[in-house]
């Protein structure tokens, strides 16, 4: 047996701006085992329910993450609406779908850039973020914010987008879609991308299920599961199917995200064509009593929001199970047996968001 060496990966590492730590047990250049460690910046936001009432917690939920902030807010609102059986107006459900899919596009473009950076393709990284910047402009135009949308509230949404605005959103998105196509063709066909990602970080279908993988990590291993199929927001009224790849390697996870980009563009176009006129919110009365699990598909996978109310303004419990937290065991599995040089690429393919995980 070769001599074993333990190499620490993180919590500060050039490939990740956020702190996660892995103890990599190596035999020469091969990773034998990876032991994860998190919690370097755990904020205890769940505990804030003791100080903030259930309306204020919407703002806290939105600040769990700076990339999928809108979907965090939406998930929290859906959990409260589930407990209180609030009937959200249809127009608000469509608007939530449009902003949710914009979040997915900007998150996937951001990830594509980071992924390119992880295997040293710097120009591809810069082009991905250049395209993403144009989407952030649309988000700013429609919500007023580039990072925190502040658009979702319990019982509906805070802002509307008028017909002219929706038309403008669609025409801008068609330009971004065309530019995204040029980008994803490189990820799909470039030889250097393929050589760094094909047959690297394998996760079988059985392993993905038993290890609790979620999101693109799960779907790239051949499992057709996407929480949007539960039918929340306007997804049950739109025509779409989960994007699935079967190879279970880094390339497959990249392809799932590339294809999901186009799916998100299409979902927004469909939502714009079907959106109904009408109110965007309803008045909420009373306090939540009971418990509910809201399951929503974030760009990184399924997030679970649990809320428990006892009839007072403050919830008894607020709990968030984030996709990155669920993807830690599959990550450990994919790292075992890989080359040390592939570790940053494999870690990136779960699209880790430590900000979410350290809620």
């Amino acid at each position: 047996m070769a001599t074993r060496t333990i190499v620490p990966f993180g919590p500060q590492h050039p490939v990740l701006p956020e702190p996660i730590h892995l103890d990599l047990v190596l035999e020469d250049e091969k990773v034998v085992e990876a032991i994860p460690s998190i919690g370097f910046i755990h904020r205890g936001l769940e505990k804030l329910v003791e100080k903030k009432d259930f309306y204020e917690m919407t703002y806290v939920a939105e600040r769990i993450c700076g990339i999928c902030s809108f979907i965090h807010g939406q998930s929290y609102c859906q959990a409260i609406e589930g407990v209180m059986k609030i009937d959200v107006p249809e127009r608000a459900l469509y608007l939530r779908t449009i902003w949710g899919e914009m979040s997915r596009i900007h998150s996937h473009l951001l990830w594509l850039g980071l992924f390119a950076d992880a295997f040293g393709f710097e120009s591809l990284f810069m082009h991905s973020w250049r395209v993403r910047e144009k989407l952030l402009d649309i988000i700013e135009e429609t919500t007023g914010g580039r990072v925190i949308f502040g658009s979702c509230k319990i019982g509906g949404v805070r802002r509307d987008i008028d017909a002219l605005g929706l038309k403008r959103v669609e025409s801008e998105l068609r330009i971004i879609e065309k530019q995204s196509f040029e980008l994803t063709e490189v990820f799909k066909k470039d030889n250097s991308v393929k050589r760094r990602t094909i047959d690297v970080g394998m996760l079988s279908k059985e392993e993905a299920i038993s290890l609790g993988a979620v999101g693109p990590m799960l779907r790239a291993s051949g499992v057709s599961y996407d929480s949007r199929k539960l039918g929340y927001a306007a997804y049950s009224k739109l025509n779409w199917e989960p994007i699935v790849e079967t190879a279970g390697d880094c390339y497959a996870r990249c392809m799932v995200r590339c294809r999901e980009l186009y799916q998100s563009f299409d979902l927004i176009y469909q939502a714009i064509s079907k959106i109904a006129e009408g109110p965007i919110d309803v008045k909420v009365t009373g306090n939540p009593t009971g418990e509910y699990f809201a399951r929503v598909e974030q760009p990184r996978g399924e997030v679970i929001y649990y809320v428990k109310g006892n009839g007072s303004k403050n919830l008894e419990r607020f709990r968030v199970r984030t996709p990155t937290f669920a993807n830690v065991p599959p990550l450990v599995k994919t790292l075992a047996g890989c080359e040390l040089a592939d570790v940053p690429v494999i870690v990136l393919t779960i699209d880790p968001c430590i900000s979410c995980t350290e809620r």
Binding site: G39, E50, V88, L230, Y292, F293, P329
Partner: protein, 122 residues
């Protein structure tokens, strides 16, 4: 109209938890979350998913000296949730496949979510 899921809940004794989790695993249910509510006692909810249906199993533990068997045998992925229970809530989990012994989270306050915690947020 919002979508509200049916969310069945079965309360079991902690002595039958591992067996029940094993059955869920054999039947193809995916573990999606372990949630703890700490108030007058510890209320632990194990959530599973299969074909877009959620199913919950609940175990209630006393406030003093809470001890729980690990389900990492049928569900290895539970090690993250169970280490979280140890670090944040102070629950002792026995037979954990990957036990960080209180160091999974780097906390300045010991077991901050435990009912008796004197943490910074009150």
């Amino acid at each position: 109209m919002i979508h509200i899921e049916e969310q069945p809940l079965l309360v079991v004794d902690k002595g039958t938890l591992v067996e029940k989790a094993g059955q869920m695993s054999s039947d193809g249910w995916r573990l999606v979350a372990i949630t703890c509510v700490a108030k007058d006692n510890y209320e632990l909810t194990y959530s599973f998913d299969k074909d877009y249906k959620i199913n919950n199993i609940r175990v209630v533990l006393p406030k003093d000296n809470p001890v729980l068997p690990s389900i990492t045998k049928p569900y290895f992925a539970a090690f993250t949730y169970e280490n979280e229970l140890q670090d944040l809530f102070g629950i002792t989990v026995t037979d954990l496949a990957l036990d960080f012994k209180g160091t999974f989270y780097k906390l300045s306050v010991k077991t901050p979510f435990a009912p008796q915690s004197q943490g910074p947020v009150k």
